[in-house]
């Protein structure tokens, strides 16, 4: 026993010395930080609740984190000291409320929650802390003073990606395009995404069919991989698009010598021979707007910012730079359609379809033709020449596929 105690004591001494050294060394490096902490005690603080880790290097949480830190840097805030994050928070009202308490207790002026299931907790927290602003991504609830929601017209970007995919299918002479999606008609978000992509592809290749395989969950790399492979093997798809977190569908496309459109980030590095372009979010656009308003006029936050639903016009959504795998001239189509959408003259889910004339120098002119928006059952959603379906439908209740979509597994 004595021997053991003495061994332990020696170990402890060694550890204590390491501890002391580490602490000393650390004091020097963190001193400036400490001053910052106290210096910003009364300054503006940003709080965030993440579904995954703040140290993620890809995926949904990562993109939001990048958006928040970029916006803070643009506004002269230091993410090291002025940003408080509770991460790995499940969609559990109790857990989210506790996270809100932690962030408000840490002195945050605005709290962002990035996952849909935080909705009720954030509404409750907004009522409990009227002096703090709560802003909820992908939700639909809000109040008149300190609680709003934000999301974007990613369908516009998907339409553009659809054009790139459609042009590729024309070039390859193969009308089968694949789409690996987390969900189908259960979620308006995925449903509108598949529809917009299909309409974009059809605008350049009217004969195109979009074959959809559903994963049934937001992230499952194994399924994302096998379902993409299935689309290639069974339906001879020449382009694989996706609405899921990982780059697996693009990697599968790359391995099979076909092409693909990623999502969320430029996946060209993951699939250099396959990737065309990916619809991406520019979360920092909203985060900067929200933080600016929260800093300058917090009392009128909701009055000024409202429920945010930015699109191409605001620069909130877009597509990653077209890769060399794209058909020559794709950029001209994309530019022309972007310009049209940004002008506000036309939108994806309207009773007007686009066709294109290409001049000898590659310049693309758009023709607008009245044509009804029809779902796979033959129901007319929007009459020929009619205005776009309402935003509430796109974000909340769209539950049909447009003609040209073929759903396979269910």
């Amino acid at each position: 026993m004595k021997k053991f105690i003495s061994t332990l004591a020696v170990m402890l001494l060694v550890l204590a010395m390491c501890f002391a050294f580490a602490a000393c060394g650390n004091d020097e490096t963190t001193n400036p930080d400490d001053e910052n902490v106290t210096g910003n005690e009364d300054g503006f603080k940003v709080g965030a609740i993440y579904i995954n880790s703040k140290n993620d290097t890809a995926g949904y949480t990562f993109k939001h984190h990048q958006g928040i830190t970029t916006a803070m840097e643009n506004l002269g805030l230091d993410p090291e000291t002025d940003l408080v994050i509770v991460d790995e928070v499940p969609e559990d009202t109790e857990a989210v409320l506790t996270a809100c308490d932690t962030l408000v207790g840490a002195g945050c002026n605005i709290v962002f929650g990035i996952s849909f299931g935080y909705i009720d907790a954030m509404e409750e927290a907004a009522a409990a802390y009227p002096e703090v602003i709560f802003s909820h991504a992908t939700g639909y609830k809000s109040n008149d003073t300190n609680f709003n929601n934000y999301f974007g017209r990613i369908y516009q970007a998907r339409y553009l990606a659809g054009i790139a995919a459609g042009l590729k299918s024309l070039e390859l002479g193969n009308n089968n395009i694949g789409f690996v999606s987390a969900y189908g008609t259960e979620y308006a978000e995925t449903c509108s995404g598949i529809n917009a992509f299909t309409l974009g592809a059809q605008s350049v290749n009217p004969d195109v069919q979009v074959h959809v395989n559903l994963i049934g969950t937001w992230a499952d790399e194994e399924l994302e991989k096998s379902l993409a492979q299935d689309l290639i093997d069974t339906y001879d798809c020449c382009v694989i698009a996706q609405h899921c977190d990982s780059a697996q569908p693009q990697i599968v496309a790359n391995d099979n010598g076909v092409f693909g459109c990623g999502y969320n980030s430029d996946m060209t590095a993951d699939a250099p021979q396959a990737h065309l372009t990916a619809p991406i979010w520019h979360w920092e656009v909203y985060y900067q707007l929200a933080m600016e308003n929260a800093m300058n006029d917090p009392a009128n936050f909701v009055a000024n910012v409202g429920n945010y639903y930015g699109g191409l016009a605001e620069g909130f959504v877009g597509i990653s730079p077209l890769s060399d795998n794209c058909v020559e001239g794709t950029q001209n189509y994309v530019d022309a359609v972007s310009e049209l959408i940004v002008s506000g003259e036309w939108d994806v889910f309207s009773g007007v379809k686009l066709t294109y004339d290409v001049a000898d120098d590659g310049t693309v002119t758009i023709n607008q033709n009245d044509a009804a928006l029809v779902d796979t059952e033959g129901n007319e959603i929007v009459a020929a020449g009619g205005a776009s379906v309402e935003d509430a439908v796109i974000t909340g209740s769209m539950n049909y596929f447009v003609q040209g979509v073929v759903l396979h597994n269910n």
């Binding site: 550890l15 501890f19 580490a22 509770v86 506790t98």
Partner: protein
Amino acid sequence: MGKTRIRIVKRDGCAKRKKVLMYLIAIIVALAIGAILLSSLDVNPFQYYGKMFTMGMVDNHIAYRTVENYIKAFVPLLLTSVALALSFKIRFWNIGGEGQFIIGAIAATTIAFTCGPSLGPGLTIVLMLLAAMLSAGIYGGVIALLKVKFKTNETLLTLMFNYIALYFLLYLGETKAPWNFFLNPESERPIFGSFADIVSFPTIMIGKFSLNLSLLFVIAICVIIYIYLKRTKQGYEISVVGDSVGTAKYAGMKVNKIVLRTIFISAALIGLAGALKVGTSGILSTSITDSVGWTGIIVAWLAKLNTIGIFVVAALICVLDTGSTIASSTYSAIDANFADILQGIILFSVLVADFFTRFKIVISKKEEQ
């Protein structure tokens, strides 16, 4: 030539002073390891630990909310640990706390949604608690029955029953259907609905601080369990069966009945913990257990199945858990996973110390022939 042999030998006993010393050393060693890790990430360990052990309540204008949240985490853990200890006392390896907790929470929620609107809050709460205890008690009792009748392995069965309960809960949470009253009808996407405006567990306001009465309720239950184990015939039977089934049988005790009864009580109390949790939050969640079914096992054993010990250990583990989340939130380099690693290091070294209070390593040199 001498050959060194290392053997692990059981200790005959360990003085209390020595034990406390060993636990303290273990915690210091763990904190020192943590400090090295923190420093390597450019985080000042003193500040970090300061935040962790005060749960960020210094300079916090809503520190009372931290205490409230602490109690919300502490109540289910305490009750679950005490209940698990009951099972362990008769050497029934109940690792099905998660499942029993979930079943209790689902049963309580069912009562809240179906009976709540017509019966009024008072009676509904009583029914919620009873329904949770009964359903969870049966859920655990079935396994005890299988064990005494067919000698099935309760470790495997309680473990597997966890997943049945968990996936049933996931199914309820993801299935939009007319019968599914658990979901929020207003949401297009399936999310659980709240019954907080139908029925909610009572709280007492002390200034701004709202004291959840479930805390007092659970402490009362712990006192009753303590008396039950120390002062009643049934409590005595539990300790005899736990020591030796042979002795119990020889003394004429109906061992099967005692096992069934004890496991039913154990599981019922875990179900009660689930009801208290869901009754406080007013909403189900797929992460409703907060892993108390697992953490409770550690708490029960660290406390040597002693009810008072469980109270202390559960309180400390909750500080660790709540504190590390709060401390990690202000450091960009420290995410929740890293906070979990730090917690794990502390628990692990305490368990190592615990091992050495019961065993010692003997190094002996043997002359080779």
